[in-house]
Amino acid sequence: MTMEPEIVVSLNGVSKTFRDFWLRPTVVAVDALSLGVRRGEVFGLLGPNGSGKSTTIKMILGLLSPSAGEVRLFGLGPRSVAARRRLGYLPELSYLHPFLTAAETLRYYAGLCSLPRREASRRTRELLAMVGLEEVANRPVGGFSKGMARRVALASALVGRPELLVLDEPTSGLDPISTKEVKTLVKALARGGMTVLTTSHMLADAEDICDRVMILNHGKSVAEGRVAELGTSLEEFFLAKVGDVQDFALAPFLKG
């Protein structure tokens, strides 16, 4: 008898409605979404811009409160400090302090993960080597290119050796070589047992790295399953499911 893998992230009927100053609903970003991410898998949230991927991620991280439903992270509430101690997060845009150098940035995030000073220095060197930024370790990140900043942000997400890595559009703004490097890295981390939750509007990313995916459109789940189960090509499946939607930003791009 095989044991079911632990559910690391679970969403149960989660909705998020943004409201204006007078509390009138303006946008339903996520609508009755349920999902479960199992330990050790790479789970992809796919969908066009504005489909609710980043809002879902922010609710999982406790940065936004759901209007309805329940989010659990390692069985705890998403605002629980104990739960967030076990995750690493790469946001869609590489938010970094421009006045800190690359090494200082990693040491800062090592501090947020409560790593001891010696361990923080060792981990900083290790990660800068891993993302190929040893040469510029002492330069302020404010002067970095988008790709370099992305690599620093990715290293920051990994500094605390998280059990769950949450990646919001990890290849956003990267050139093809850097994109391939990031995908290789994510696959290596997953092989090492790390659970990865990633979002993307690039289907090729999901096909390459995800075990299971959920396709979102207008805040709702359109389909969910293993990449292999969703048809011969995820792209064809994607178009078949949501390609008829006129305002779907990705469809013309895929067809064209």
Binding site: G62, S65, A82, Y95, L112, S114, V166
Partner: protein, 293 residues
């Protein structure tokens, strides 16, 4: 505790790295150096002029430093998204806000130390110079070296920081900020030693005048969580206006720099007046942080 210490130190570094912080600190020092000279030519009483210039510089420039430092530190985190990165770690929202406010307070303490150092130097220079001037009636000769030293304390850090930036890639603003503070504090220590410690009576006066700046700092940090920078600054103006009728509490500092024993009761009164306001604004800030999306 370690995450909050990291946030505090990074915030202090952030405030010290801001060109505005360096500019305000150097402006305060320049005000302390030059204001007593012009005043003395008209009114006399050099030590009083030096002291008043120092306290005025600390209050006006300190308020600007505290308000804009706090608003920039808190608001930038929210607007650029670095707050999201931090809050995705094992960091409580309220703790994050308090650590940010503490970081600004640390940078403000360095600013206040620099202003105090220059104040002590100018106070000592004024006392020595005043005594000599009374005997010789040659004011310019007495004040010349003192002002030259003050100008050097302002210009030297900029030159040194530029050299360190050119040859060793040190960050110019950050380096200049800490060298200026270091030079000023060292100058104050030398002056205190020369004067036998009399001028150190000015230090508690400086601490006293720093109290309203701390109230403004906590108010600015709290407002910046909820409102945009311009609105937060405007609300700080309202807080300042509300504090003005009670400013005599802080300006009891004058009694500290007179002779005799230091009236610690006045210091305690100033702290008692400032603490509830600081605590109140920090509680508001935590509340805003917890409810912010």
């Amino acid at each position: 505790m370690k995450p909050y210490v990291s946030i505090t130190l990074a915030t202090a570094l952030e405030v010290a790295s801001s060109p505005l912080s360096l500019l305000v600190m150097l402006a305060a020092m320049a005000l302390e150096v030059f204001a007593p000279v012009f005043h003395y030519h008209q009114f006399g009483d050099p030590t009083r002029m030096a002291r008043d210039a120092a306290l005025s510089a600390l209050f006006t420039c300190g308020a600007v430093f505290a308000v804009f430092g706090a608003i920039r530190a808190v608001r930038r985190e929210i607007e650029t998204g670095t707050q999201e990165m931090a809050l995705a770690h094992a960091v409580a929202r309220g703790g994050f806000f308090l650590a940010k406010a503490a970081g600004v307070a640390v940078a403000f303490a360095v600013f206040a130390a620099a202003v105090s150092g220059t104040a002590v130097t100018m106070f000592t220079g004024a006392a020595i110079g005043g005594a000599i001037a009374e005997q010789t009636a040659q004011l310019a000769r007495v004040y010349g070296p003192c002002v030259a030293a003050g100008v050097a304390a302002i210009v030297l850090p900029l030159v040194l920081a530029a050299a360190l930036n050119r040859f060793f890639r040190f960050r110019f603003v950050l380096t200049a900020f800490f060298i200026a503070a270091g030079v000023s504090v060292a100058g104050g220590a030398v002056s205190a030693a020369l004067s036998g410690g009399d001028c150190l009576r000015l230090v508690p006066a400086v601490v006293l005048v720093a109290c309203p700046a701390l109230v403004l700092l906590s108010a600015a940090a709290a407002f910046a969580v909820r409102f945009r920078a311009n609105a937060a600054a405007a609300l700080c103006g309202v807080v300042l206006a509300a504090m003005l009728p009670a400013m005599d509490v802080y300006y009891r500092a004058e009694s500290l720099s007179r002779g005799g024993s230091i009236p610690l009761g006045d210091v305690a009164l100033a702290f008692a007046a400032a603490l509830p306001a600081v605590a109140g604004f920090l509680i508001f800030g935590i509340h805003f942080s917890l409810n912010r999306e």
